[in-house]
């Protein structure tokens, strides 16, 4: 491996890590790791060991969504290897840079892990197969075209000879990587497209799986941190002497301008001392901000003159003025924390000439860039070893504040590895929150109840303006219109409305927004799909029929909607006391719809059943797509039922799961998943069904109670009959 950096002088910094790989399953230690990567690679994606073990390199991060297994299936499919011999490893972002980004994009967000890499990873598998076959053919002095590979065995039928991948891998690794790599037709898939078991399950059952929080390095110390509860307020003073004598405490250090950390032998000692440490922060203008002031600012945006236009047809305002019937409603969506089960953390080791980080990152390359900047070192003197994530949901994709802090702390103790772990309270107070928005919707019906005009004004935060301002277009955040776009493969509006205006009044706050699983689709789908229900009701029409009339030009949107309506029995009587609601949306390249069945008994909501349909084009592992759909409803319904981060005095009020509740097993509805891939595109699955979770249930709640819930979470609303 020509890209291999020199072996670190500290043997514990593991040959595997030094070779540019962090293993997904174990923190490699010494000889074991050396043995694991001793075999030469066939190409960047495939290593085959003499014992026929197949190591498939995975650039995207595994955080529960199953991408690790799905990508391995795609490589294995073309490789024609024995699936039972497949293992995986992560290349490091440093190795990726050193090799001219041979593994391409590491970003694991936007439900893109598979849909944006299926082609080149399959080519990687196919190229490796061709090289292995060529190596066998060379040995046998026959034409490669006469040889075939299946199940890790290469055979030459005319002579009856056969060999295994492991026996020819070394010779194959010396061959040139082929340029022309044809791929198998999807109909011939044997491993991809099948419900194989996840590769990472066994270690998750015994405590063996190492998450970032579990990283152990010799001589490592632990850090606990407190950042200003009021976002952005600077540290005025802290009294380190007060805690210097506490058990295990090694050092108290400032972290940037706003935070202080205690370094100790154990994290519990660090946390105990941090809780006892007097810290004074400067007064900040931000302390004037509350949920009320933010809501007032958003309300002003609902009617503001200036707004960015995301989708426009005809003249919505004129058509509304002339409509036989006008319907208007204002909706709102709160801040929410990702609340990954594993709080933010990272381990860093800094020396004047090198910085290494072990982190639960959704994008190793961003983590590396943040590491280099915080370390004050060139990027080629740094590397990041990705460790399994205890949940990501977008929190660990763009913002790598936890990495920046870990490096900043480690830099103050050169040569000592420091593991920084946030308490749950720190995690709740320093999220990258689901953006806060309000939306005013105005619809116009003609005398026959046809929708002739719709104006949808979104007022609120832009994630992009805060985190990725380079993606603004003349000040406009195009991501705000997720699922509302006039067309395109990513998230197209599913209705044909002759007079349409969807616009955004950007109103930002000091509370930092982030990409929260589903992102802007979550509130956009609630606003649009609940309002479509309101319009259908105002028109005196069935909610499904009302939508269908507008969806003639959008057969894929309609396809998933029809599928859930048929399965749930729409139009037929529901069980006694049970009421139904529908929703559809398109995002991250996939079409999704849901039908919900609920009952409301003396104000108590029970969600009995969800039918969810997904057209994601291709399905690589059906049972794992089903798992994502089931989990998406837990995520989306937790948000709908309970979740809200409120602001008081410039800070978030909710600090733990006692005030930030999550749906538990007793509230889990039965989720029936319909997968209906049309085979002509590649869409994502990690997020899309979240979009339709809340609107389908909210529409069912209206059917049950006659109450329109226009602001979340539901816990604030009384569903008892008036």
């Amino acid at each position: 491996m020509t890209f291999m950096p020199k072996i670190d002088r500290r043997s514990f910094l593991v040959s595997s890590a030094a070779a540019g790989f962090s293993l997904g399953f174990n923190i490699p230690v010494g000889g074991e790791a050396a043995a694991q990567t001793a075999a030469p690679e066939v190409n960047a994606w495939v290593v085959i060991k003499p014992d026929d073990t197949v190591v498939i390199r995975i650039a995207r991060s595994e955080m529960g969504q199953g991408t690790l297994t799905g990508l391995a299936q795609l490589v294995a499919e073309e490789l024609e290897c024995d699936w039972s011999k497949v293992t995986t490893e992560y290349p490091t972002p440093g190795a990726n840079l050193a090799r001219n980004r041979v593994w391409r994009d590491f970003m694991t967000a936007g439900s893109q892990g598979i849909r944006r890499s299926h082609d080149y990873v399959r080519e990687g598998g196919a190229a490796a197969r061709m090289m292995l076959i060529q190596a066998a053919a060379n040995e046998w002095k026959v034409a490669a075209s006469e040889c075939k590979a299946a199940n890790s065995v290469i055979t030459h039928a005319p002579s009856g000879r056969s060999t295994t991948f492991g026996k020819v891998a070394a010779a194959a690794s010396k061959l040139e990587v082929p340029k022309q790599v044809p791929l198998k037709p999807v109909k011939d898939w044997k491993i991809a497209g099948k419900s194989v078991k996840r590769l990472d399950t066994p270690d998750k059952l015994t405590g063996k799986q190492v998450y970032s929080i579990d990283v152990q390095l010799p001589g490592m110390l632990n850090a606990a941190i407190k950042d200003s509860p009021v976002f952005g307020a600077k540290v005025k003073s802290f009294d380190a002497a007060k805690v210097a004598g506490m058990k295990g405490v090694k050092k108290v250090v400032p972290v940037g301008e706003t935070a202080v950390a205690v370094i100790a032998d154990t994290w519990w000692h660090a946390k105990t001392a941090l809780d006892a440490l007097p810290i004074v922060w400067e007064d900040s203008q931000n302390a004037q901000v509350s949920s009320e002031t933010i809501a007032a600012m958003l309300r002003e945006g609902l009617d503001a003159e200036q707004a960015f236009v995301g989708n426009k047809a005809g003249d919505a305002k004129a058509a509304l003025a002339g409509a036989a019937k006008k319907v208007e409603a204002v909706y709102g969506y709160p801040f929410q924390n990702h609340a990954t089960m594993e709080p933010m953390n990272a381990t860093a080791l800094w020396t004047p000439d090198k910085c290494e980080v072990w982190a639960p990152t959704q994008n190793g390359e961003t983590a590396l860039a943040v590491t280099a900047a915080a370390a004050g070192l060139p990027v080629n003197k740094c590397d990041v070893y990705k460790v399994h994530l205890g949940g990501g949901f977008g929190r660990r994709a763009s913002s790598h504040d936890f990495v920046q802090q870990a490096v900043t702390i480690a830099k103050q103790m050169p040569g000592t590895p420091i593991k920084l772990l946030w308490s749950r309270e720190e995690d709740m107070l320093h999220g990258r929150y689901h953006p806060v928005t309000q939306c005013k919707l105005t619809g116009g019906l003609d005398a026959n109840g046809n929708l002739i005009a719709l104006h949808m004004r979104i007022s609120g935060q832009s994630i992009v303006a805060n985190l990725l301002p380079q993606f603004l277009k003349d000040g406009m955040d195009p991501f705000v219109f997720q699922g509302l776009n006039p067309g395109g493969a990513e998230g197209a509006f599913g209705y044909a409305i002759s007079n349409l205006l969807i616009d955004h009044a950007m109103r930002n706050t000091h509370v930092p927004p982030g990409f929260w699983r589903g992102v802007n689709n979550n509130h956009n789908a609630i606003y649009l799909e609940c309002f479509m229900d309101e319009l259908a009701h105002a028109a005196g029409q069935d909610a499904l029929e009302f939508r269908r009339k507008l969806m003639g030009n959008h057969p894929k949107h309609l396809g998933v909607l029809n599928a859930v309506a048929e399965r749930v029995g729409w139009g037929k009587p529901a069980p006694q006391g049970v009421f139904r609601g529908l929703a559809q949306h398109m995002g991250y390249g996939s079409y999704v719809a849901a039908a919900a069945e609920v009952s409301v008994d003396n104000g108590a909501l029970k969600i009995h059943r969800i039918v969810a349909a997904t057209n994601c084009g291709h399905v690589v592992n059906p049972q794992q797509v089903e798992a994502q759909v089931e989990g998406s409803f837990v995520y989306g319904l937790s948000a709908m039922l309970y979740q809200e981060c409120t602001v008081k005095g410039g800070r978030i009020e909710q600090e733990n799961f006692d005030t930030y509740n999550v749906l538990r097993i007793n509230e889990m509805p039965k989720v029936e998943t319909i997968l209906m891939p049309s085979g002509d595109f590649w869409g994502g699955v990690g997020e899309p069904t979240i979009f339709v979770a809340a609107p389908a249930v909210l529409n069912a709640i209206f059917a049950a109670t006659g109450k329109r819930i226009r602001t979340l979470p539901l816990k604030h609303h009384d569903l008892r009959k008036a």
Binding site: K204, L205, T206, Y211, M341, E342, L421, E630, R664, M668
Partner: protein, 149 residues
């Protein structure tokens, strides 16, 4: 210094008596399968067995666990044979990120010990662990499978 019995082994642990059991297990004993999630006994990621009963180790002092049989997820399998809960979890491919699953499986193993054939209502009343990935549907199916194994 306290003496703890963890997974059948007696261990000298150098911690203050009021240290939460979770941190003694993770940091002093070095068994990291037991997870930190909230520190206030709300999420269940830290669930272990104390004398066979499910307990949230983040909110139990080490001094209160002295002399008791503590079992962590690392001790759930017996002589290298997976517990029927682990087998059912494997069969149903339950974990997603997996971070909560140590605690989830420990809670379920304790439930099955008490109620070998739990009803859905038993499960609803007993299994209050948080899973942010949302594996509940498979957790329920796997509990029934383990009960019938």
């Amino acid at each position: 210094m306290v003496r703890l019995i963890i997974n059948g082994q007696s261990r000298e642990v150098d911690v203050e008596p009021d240290t939460p059991l979770l941190w003694a297990i993770r940091e002093n004993v070095g068994l990291t399968g037991t997870k930190y999630g909230c520190g206030i006994a709300k999420c269940g990621a830290c669930t272990v067995h104390i004398d066979g009963v499910a307990a949230r180790s983040c909110s139990i002092r080490v001094s209160d666990a002295v002399g008791k049989q503590i079992t962590t997820v690392e001790g759930l399998a017996h002589n290298g044979v997976l517990h029927r809960v682990q087998k059912a979890w494997l069969e149903h491919d339950v974990p997603q990120c997996g971070y909560c699953q140590s605690g989830m499986m420990m809670a379920v193993a304790a439930l099955l010990k008490e109620k070998p054939k739990p009803t859905d209502a038993d499960i609803d009343a007993t299994i209050t662990n948080i899973c942010r990935c949302g594996t509940y549907q498979r957790v329920r199916a796997a509990i029934h499978a383990a009960a019938n194994a």
